[in-house]
């Protein structure tokens, strides 16, 4: 092989995704596309009440309706449905209420399932639903976390409205705050969000004798199989779970759902394949929600801006029940409030609270966006208090490039990072100094349209997760990942991965990795995933873990393939294995590179198995299961310039620069897509999205007409760039990118809005920063200020506002009007 024949490295190539041709030409295998002989359709009656006793359920009329096979109430399943699982009992005394898939005597959120109809098609099922007569005795809803914990509050569960309190910390927090020159205290609100995956959930469950196959739109086929076995008692080896093409999840499909359990139980009861596909408005009340925290934060600093201590007290809304990882989500943030900053002391406390709302659970970023929002907002507030440039304040406190590896106050060891490089690049692309000058001019001129600059110098913990860490946090499972490499006789490769892609492009990225590892063409690699009968072992996809953990498992499996191949190649070449070196994608004789064997040639030799040395098995196939030693820590600097029309409250993002350091990039196109989508989703939290409830506990944003998600028309062109500081913790040097954009962008946008309005005395605008809220924040600050904000307000936009707490009254839920 000459130099010109060298295969180009696949890792780093911006390859178009293999899966896209199928996905965009209607050849997909969505769960809802699956039709089986004899299949019946189930529809669910859901509670219209947030909290009620079920007095009676009469399904008799529905049973008699045309096309209906069966109709059931919760009582019909009481003996077999068990309780939906929570795998993360975060404290020994945590309250984990019974959570039946179908409510039996009480409903605790609007949308909870109370009855079902099974019919020949979904139209007949929908018609028959209207014939089910449920009598409720309404009870008072529990809608507010603080009120839920107050004396005399209506109790949602026999054990009360508190699930747990989880304390954490390091250093002497009292000493850090005692005599601190600057202390600021804030309360931020993380609104409730609805994940809104493109593909609504769907499940098909088919029984054959006493074995069951379930196709479901899930992120976690492997975890689901284990959990279904535990919940229903159906033996694990008689369950097969398949995640076919899955159209996004954002954490919402990291779940064991009532609908999946009921589909399984109905398939067993009826002996027929059962299908359920949700509608969007059904999904909005029934898919687990995300975020929803009240964050009370306090920071103490020296006069020069050095952080002394950070004190975080969270109320986290669990919703009505604990689902798969509900209580663990806010705790993932415990390690991230300190972010990239050094400090003397840190205290974190989180109380999980039950309310009569849809349960919450993981949503893109899961705990980390919440923490990042709070600390990055707080850093801006501190800078304003100190009269410092907010970037300078961050630099004063962040971990310096030369200080890595660095063990943070929260106890994590960040292996690598270069905050200086990312920030420098971002400032330059953004035109930071020029925008600051324009901002000052507008302020001086009293322009009705102000300019704000928002900063987010974020990091996150990815690659969930070292199993021993998960164990120490009381999570029920591990954080490893599995991979298998199957060498086919013709030199083609099948990669079996325990990761379960649902839009991430694993088929492409994994092919690139394997192509390099085994010296085969990209096109010769096929990736198999998402079926427990094919990929028997896995921990699935969430928490930006697939590349870091699953990718490393693949590298390790490829290494085993190579080592097995080396022995066979040596026999083929009649040399000692020690005389071979892996060079240019093949095993060649050291010093005589023309003498070598490609992995394909060796694979055929292994297949024929004619001349293998004694004791060598006729197979190159290899498995690896990898458990990481540490998390990975992507970071970056995001800068947002926002124009705020102070007459209307309208916010326009003028420019957005994202410089991310996600380590080594396998496929820049995929990374770019993840960053763009992530930023959009974080902007959506900042400006648009909120699951709003009325005073009786009904979700009033049950359709996409009311729950606003932005489209491309609402977003600016993002300017993206990368710095590359490879992770030292895995052989690929990768860090993960699935959540970075979402984590970074929310505080960048809100900080920009607040920055624009600080001259008016505005210190916060509650999310989402709707035009009305922005306008009211200005009005309230104006009303509270002793003097009207003159055009002559000092041009320093980062100067302290006169009334940092003016926002408090505007935080009420406007939907209750």
């Amino acid at each position: 092989m000459t130099a010109t024949d060298l295969p180009a490295a696949e890792v780093g190539r911006a390859r178009a995704r293999k899966e896209d041709a199928r996905l965009i030409t209607g050849q997909t295998n969505w769960t809802d596309n699956i039709t089986l002989p004899g299949m019946v359709h189930v529809s669910f009656v859901r509670s219209p009440h947030a909290h009620a006793r079920i007095a009676s359920v009469d399904v008799s009329a529905a049973r008699g309706a045309a096309g209906v096979f069966a109709a059931y109430s919760g009582a019909d399943f009481a003996a077999e449905q068990g309780s939906l699982p929570c795998a993360w009992p975060v404290t020994p005394d945590i309250v984990i209420p019974e959570h039946p898939s179908m409510a039996v005597d009480t409903v605790r959120y609007a949308g909870e399932i109370v009855a079902c109809v099974v019919a020949r098609d979904r139209y007949a099922a929908a018609d028959a639903l209207e014939l089910i007569d449920v009598t409720y005795e309404p009870l008072e809803p529990v809608l507010d976390m603080e009120q839920a914990l107050a004396d005399g509050a209506v109790q949602l569960h026999a054990a009360g409205n508190k699930s747990f309190t989880w304390p954490f910390g390091n250093g002497d927090i009292d000493a850090a705050f005692r005599d601190a020159p600057v202390v600021i205290e804030r309360t931020y609100r993380q609104q409730r969000l609805i994940p809104s995956a493109m593909e609504p959930r769907a499940v098909v469950c088919a029984p054959v004798a006493d074995e069951y196959t379930m196709w479901t739109s899930t992120q976690i086929p492997h975890v689901l199989r284990v959990m279904l076995a535990l919940v229903t008692g159906i033996p694990e080896h008689k369950l097969r779970v398949i995640a076919p093409d899955v159209g996004g999840g954002f954490g919402s499909k990291l779940q064991v759902t009532a609908e999946e359990v009921l589909a399984l139980l109905l398939a067993r009861k009826l002996g027929r394949p059962v299908k359920w596909t949700e509608t969007r408005s059904e999904g909005n009340v029934a898919v687990h929600h995300g975020r929803d925290q009240i964050q009370r934060v306090r920071i103490a600093a020296d006069a020069d801006g050095r952080i002394r201590g950070l004190d975080v007290d969270l109320l986290a809304d669990m919703g009505a029940y604990l689902m798969l990882v509900t209580p663990g989500v806010p705790l993932l943030g415990a390690f991230m409030f300190n972010a990239i900053y050094k400090m003397d002391a840190y205290r974190f406390n989180c109380t999980g609270v039950f309310t009569s709302k849809t349960p919450t659970d993981a949503y893109r970023g899961a705990g980390r966006p919440e923490a990042t929002y709070a600390i990055e907002h707080l850093m801006d507030d501190l800078a304003a208090e100190l009269g410092m440039d907010p970037l300078a304040l961050r630099e004063r406190n962040w971990i310096k490039h030369e200080e890595f590896p660095f063990t943070t106050i929260a106890g994590l060891t960040y292996d690598s990072g270069n905050y200086e490089a990312a920030t420098e690049t971002a400032k330059e692309l953004f035109g930071y100094d020029a925008l600051r000058a324009e901002q000052a001019e507008r302020n001086a001129a009293g322009s009705p349209v102000r300019l704000g600059i928002g900063i987010s110098t974020f990091t996150e913990m990815c690659g969930l997760a070292p199993s021993r860490v998960l164990g120490s946090l009381a999570y029920a499972a591990g954080g490893w990942e599995h991979a298998s490499i199957r060498m086919l006789p013709t030199g083609k490769v099948e990669v079996v991965t325990g990761s379960s892609a649902h839009g991430q492009g694993h088929e492409t990225a994994w092919s690139q990795i394997v192509a390099d590892q085994l010296g085969v063409p990209f096109e010769d690699v096929r990736v198999l995933h998402g079926d427990t009968a094919i990929s028997h072992k896995g921990m699935d996809t969430y928490g930006s873990r697939s590349l870091v953990v699953g990718g490393t498992a693949i590298v390790n499996a490829c290494d085993k393939v190579r080592q097995k191949a080396r022995v066979i190649a040596a026999a083929m070449l009649e040399v000692s294995p020690d005389d071979l070196e892996w060079s240019d994608g093949r095993w060649a004789v050291r010093g005589d590179p023309d003498q070598g064997k490609s992995i394909g040639e060796i694979a055929f030799a292994a297949f024929a198995a004619h001349g293998l040395p004694d004791g060598v098995e006729p197979s190159l196939d290899s498995d690896a299961t990898y458990d990481p030693d540490n998390f990975s820590f992507p970071h970056g600097t995001h800068l947002c310039a926002a124009e705020v029309d102070t007459e209307t409250g309208q916010v326009r993002i003028r420019s957005y620069v994202a410089v991310d350091d996600v380590g080594v990039v396998v496929n820049p196109l995929i990374v770019e897509g993840q960053v763009h989508g992530g930023i959009a989703q974080g902007v959506a939290q900042a400006l648009y999205e909120e699951a709003a409830y009325d005073s009786s506990g009904n979700l009033v944003t049950a359709s996409l007409a009311d729950y606003l998600i932005p489209s491309a028309a609402d977003l600016p062109s993002f300017t993206t760039a990368r710095t590359t500081t490879p992770s030292t913790l895995n052989p690929l040097g990768v860090k993960g990118v699935g959540e970075a954009g979402t984590i970074a962008s929310t505080p960048a946008v809100v900080n920009a809005i607040v920055d624009a309005l600080r001259p008016f005395g505005v210190a916060d605008v509650p999310m989402p920063c709707t035009p009305e809220r922005v306008w009211r924040a200005i009005q309230e600050a104006r009303g509270a200020a002793t003097a009207p904000p003159a055009a002559a307000t000092p041009a320093s936009a980062s100067g302290p506002g006169p009334n940092p707490d003016a926002q408090d009254d505007s935080r009420e839920d406007r939907s209750a009007r």
């Binding site: 018609d127 509608t279 059904e282 648009y688 489209s711 306008w775 009211r776």
Partner: protein, 284 residues
Amino acid sequence: MIPAKFDYTRPSSLEEAIGALAAGGEDAKVIAGGQSLLPLLRLRFAYPSVLVDVAGLAELHGVRDAGDALEIGALTTHYELTKDPLVAAHCGLLAEAAATIADPAVRHRGTIGGALAHADPAGDLPAVITALDATLIATGPDGTREISPADFFADYLTTSLAPGEILTAIRVPKLDGWGYRYEKFHTTAQAWAIVGVAAVARRADGHVAEARVGLTNMGSVPVRAHAVEAAAAGAEASAAALAAAAASADEGTNPPSDLRGAADYRRHLARVLTGRALAAAVGV
């Protein structure tokens, strides 16, 4: 979601359509582009007995020059309004407003007649034709009649169309030489207007000779801002003078309070946006 069962008929003439509608009684509904009706059916907010699909009626399509007015067939889609040369030449406001409706898919299916007959005060076109002093033409079992916007929009999602009557066309006076602006204020591009202001104005000698203003989502029906029109007539063509004229924009309105904004915020927006719309229409 899934609609309840309904009958469906696709007549081939207006006469046949009116017959089918009359025969269907109270619960018969006309469907054109379906962009408002289908969501209601799917959410089971509406249970029509029969849908009379008028999409095949050629006489309801297209824009026609009718001398000092344009006659726009009820089945003209929003997209067609944005592209039609007659509309562009004589009634730019309609094209500008149609371009802001929802998203491209909706604009290609949704029709002007459907949008007006749906009578959603948050829809854009009702306020626009109110500002334009357009005439709605309806045909029913008792013949054809002409209806003013003020009479047509009876209440929230309610028109004065009688059972069996079909909106067939909208006659819009040509406003050659007038300036115009549809100032739509919404949170996302696809969202309904929190408030919208449709303004047309004629300028002469540095002053506003005549102005007409319609308001979107400031009450249960589109609102004609008569006080603003009176204040603007004769006013100096300057942003300050027009902002002053716009101060009465919320007079006589009854805006809703909902997720997107409380009534007081809408009143404020109406004043600000009316000033801006007039300024743009007048060209200052």
